[in-house]
């Protein structure tokens, strides 16, 4: 009998297990479960496709639009080429003006000059008409074009307009993000603060955060006892309470917001009752809406269920024996709440708070209806740029910042509490 080598080779063979007919166990397992995997894949494929088409693509498009704007670069090819050949610092020469005139003639013929003017107008307000008016007369201009253009409008000599056109000649730009945080580039390309009358977005972002925070806090304070009741009342009573909590979901958001207008306005129910009770005088009616107070009241009402439901689902799982145990161990009811009950509701508090906060940050219709001037949120500005000013790139940049803020918040939350610790239902 010779020695059979027992060592690394033998161990390696032991580790790679085989089935009875000699195929490796791993591949046999993979083959056996392939059918199931394919079927599972086929089942989720429609949803995956739906999400890609309705969620990933639009958001990707929006993010692209926030850094990519071709309104100028597509329609002013000659001038774009001149900018490409002449680096920054070189003053526009006759060739530049000739290129400008040629592009304006084309623009007038193809009716694209309005779009070009709009693009420059984002950077230098009040310049859209400069482009449209000049384009209308571009066909009649004779060389030398510099003098001819300056004769039409002396603004064509302005350095800031040329700087803006140079900037816009690049399709990709970070300028919309700068505008979204109240910054712009000066003539030398440095980043400086916008003009005071144009600084609105930073303040609006801060206000959005602040109001969302206040609304989240109020929702938590109001929702916690309700969720606790829901979780502890006998079934029949808690069902009734649950219906009351869910009732708002069955009513149109618009109807709910309008009913708040009925309640809160100067001649509304709340003020009338207070005046009738003599709490306030007829001339001292409270301004409860068309300001931040209106936004906070109405949004708290709308978002309250989103706080209550996650809290409820967590509280439902906390057996009453914990509180009893704590009491039997000598804790007062306050200590029991603080040390035993509250820590176990953290996943619900976290889930509810982050849900309400994120929803509040993006809320649009309620502040638009009851917020007045001081109760507007950033989403109202985004809507404004989408629908009125048609500066979609700026709207996209603002929305992207909002998205970034939400993701950042998620990250911070994950760090502090842990996403695994969140329970939505």
């Amino acid at each position: 009998m010779s020695d059979i080598p027992i060592g690394p080779t033998a161990t390696a063979r032991q580790q790679r297990l085989e089935t009875a007919d000699g195929t490796p166990l791993k591949s046999a397992l993979a083959r056996a479960s392939r059918r199931q995997k394919l079927r599972a894949l086929a089942l989720v494929a429609p949803l995956a496709l739906f999400i890609i088409v309705t969620f990933v693509l639009p958001i990707g498009q929006m993010l692209l639009r926030s850094v990519n704007n071709t309104q100028f670069s597509d329609n002013m090819p000659a001038l774009v080429q001149w900018f490409a050949e002449n680096p920054p610092g070189i003053d526009p020469d006759e060739a530049a003006f000739a290129a400008l005139v040629s592009d304006l003639r084309n623009g007038a013929a193809q009716r694209t000059v309005g779009s070009v003017g709009t693009r420059i107008n984002y950077e230098v307000p009040g310049t859209r008409s400069l482009f449209t008016a000049t384009a209308r007369r571009a066909a009649d201009l004779e060389p030398p074009y510099r003098e001819a253009l300056l004769e039409v409008n002396s603004d064509w000599a302005r350095e800031d307009i040329w700087a803006a056109m140079r900037g816009a000649s690049q399709a990709y730009t970070a300028n919309f993000y700068l505008a979204a945080v109240d910054r712009k580039r000066d003539l030398d390309g440095n980043i400086v603060q916008s003009d005071p009358q144009n600084r609105v977005y930073v303040q609006l972002f801060l206000r959005t955060f602040m109001l969302s925070g206040v609304i989240t806090l109020i929702c938590l304070l109001l929702g916690f006892p309700v969720a606790h009741l829901l979780a502890t009342l006998p079934l029949r009573k808690s069902n009734l309470l649950m219906i009351l909590v869910l009732l708002p979901f069955w009513t149109s958001l618009l109807v709910r917001t309008t009913s708040w207008i009925v309640l809160l306005q100067g001649q509304g129910v709340v003020n009338n009752v207070l005046v009738a009770l003599g709490v306030i005088g007829d001339d001292g009616r409270l301004a409860l809406m068309y300001n931040q107070a209106g936004t906070i009241i109405a949004m708290t009402h709308v978002l309250l269920p989103f706080m209550i439901l996650p809290l409820y689902s967590v509280m439902k799982t906390i057996p009453p024996s914990y509180a009893r145990a704590a009491r039997s161990l000598g804790a007062t009811s306050w200590t029991t709440f603080r040390r035993i009950y509250l820590p176990q509701t953290i996943p619900g508090i976290g889930a509810g708070s982050i849900l309400v906060f994120i929803l509040a940050m993006g809320y649009y219709i309620t502040p638009a209806l009851v917020g007045g001037a001081t109760g507007q949120l950033i989403s109202n500005q985004i809507a404004f740029h989408m629908q009125n000013s048609l500066n979609w790139s700026l709207a996209a940049a603002l929305a992207a910042l909002l998205l970034g803020a939400v993701l950042l918040l998620y990250w911070v939350y994950d760090r502090l509490v842990g996403i695994d610790n969140m329970k939505l239902g």
Partner: protein, 367 residues
């Protein structure tokens, strides 16, 4: 109502009644006195009122009527956290967000004990249940038996004089449960605390208790040490509930001071000890434990009445044989015999005569 032994009354239920809905009484006129250092078990089927009694004692339910006294002091109006009663819950109720050490430290913290005292006591309590090395684990990382020990240690760490246990072993498997029964019993012996233990498992109650209060329908049916309860049940509920029991129905034929004869439904006559039968002609249920039935002719008491029996089924159970017989028209008469050398193994279809000592057979109420 029996009030045996411990009459110093460390825990006293004095005519306690409890109703949840104002229409039915869950606990009906409960009188119970528990001595200091006693291990008393409240045993009964679910809905018998035993847990309600425990909850009233712990302070989580209020008595509708009557007084509950602890060490002579009425505690009806003392909130649970000031009663100083340790409690072990059915599902342990260990705080999931705290480590084992923090769980044990909690009752000491709320008593404003210094840090060093706390640590010493926590370690002592953990060592007591052999769980010292688990101080930094979380409850979820422990097995059921380990959680059970921690719950026990937590109920004892602040050195209460009275510990309540609400079916604490219900969630454990059989082997672990039997092991923990002994451990709890030993802890009780060692620490000398008074324990009120609630269970519906009669084996558990018999193993551990000094006295057992059998609850049914909101009343204590019998309050007695395990041996008395098992061997001399007061009524047919207790006889049926505790251990395995054969019942035969009949009518009292003759009634003496410590002996009566009963005519069974098929006309056969048997001897029994009268317990709560009042006179001849009364209907009765006689109760006999399976292991007290004799079927070897030489072991039958001389002169005793015997009954005709037919073997229906023979079950081999390892240490025991369990034989089902047809006796006096009843198909559910069971006898048990030890699997000892030379023990007879009966075959189905066989007929034999069975009998017993009259004092092992008790004539009870015909409930």
């Amino acid at each position: 109502m029996v009030r045996a032994g411990h009459d110093d009354g460390f825990v006293v239920f004095d005519h306690v009644q409890k109703s949840y809905d104002g229409e039915t009484l869950v606990v009906k006129d409960l009188d119970l006195s528990i001595g200091k250092g006693e291990f008393l078990t409240m045993l009964g089927p679910s809905g018998s009122g035993k847990t309600t009694c425990l909850m009233m004692l712990a302070g989580f339910e209020t008595a509708t009527h009557g007084d509950i006294r602890l060490a002579g002091r009425p505690i009806n109006h003392i909130p649970p956290h000031r009663r100083g009663i340790g409690m072990v819950f059915q599902n342990y109720a260990l705080f999931p967000h705290m480590t084992v050490g923090e769980n044990l430290s909690f009752p000491l913290e709320v008593r404003r004990m210094s840090r060093s005292d706390r640590e010493a006591k926590v370690m002592r309590a953990l060592d007591m249940v052999q769980m010292g090395q688990f101080v930094n684990r979380r409850p979820a990382q422990l097995s059921g038996g380990q959680q059970q020990r921690i719950a026990l240690a937590r109920a004892l760490v602040f050195e209460p004089e009275l510990v309540l246990m609400d079916e604490p072993l219900g969630a454990l498997d059989k082997q672990l449960r039997e092991h923990m029964q002994f451990e709890i019993k030993h802890l009780h012996d060692r620490l000398g605390v008074t324990v009120v233990y609630v269970t519906h498992d009669q084996g558990e109650a018999l193993t551990m208790s000094d006295r057992i209060a059998v609850f049914n329908d909101g009343r204590i049916q019998q309050l007695a040490p395990p041996q008395v309860l098992y061997e001399r049940p007061d009524n047919s509920f207790v006889a049926q509930f505790i251990g395995e029991n054969n019942r035969l129905e009949g009518v009292v034929e003759q009634l003496g001071p410590d002996r009566c004869t009963v005519r069974l439904t098929n006309g056969e006559i048997i001897d029994a000890a009268p317990v709560n039968v009042r006179g001849a002609g009364e209907r009765t249920v006689i109760s006999i434990r399976p292991e007290r039935v004799e079927f070897m002719p030489e072991r039958l008491p001389p002169g005793a009445h015997t009954l005709e029996a037919e073997v229906l089924e023979f079950i081999y159970m390892g240490d025991m044989f369990r034989t089902r017989l047809r006796v006096a028209g009843s198909d559910n008469f069971v006898i048990k015999s030890r699997n000892s050398a030379g023990q007879a193994r009966l075959r189905p279809g066989e007929t034999l005569r069975i009998g017993w000592l009259a004092e092992d057979c008790r004539a009870l109420d015909a409930a």
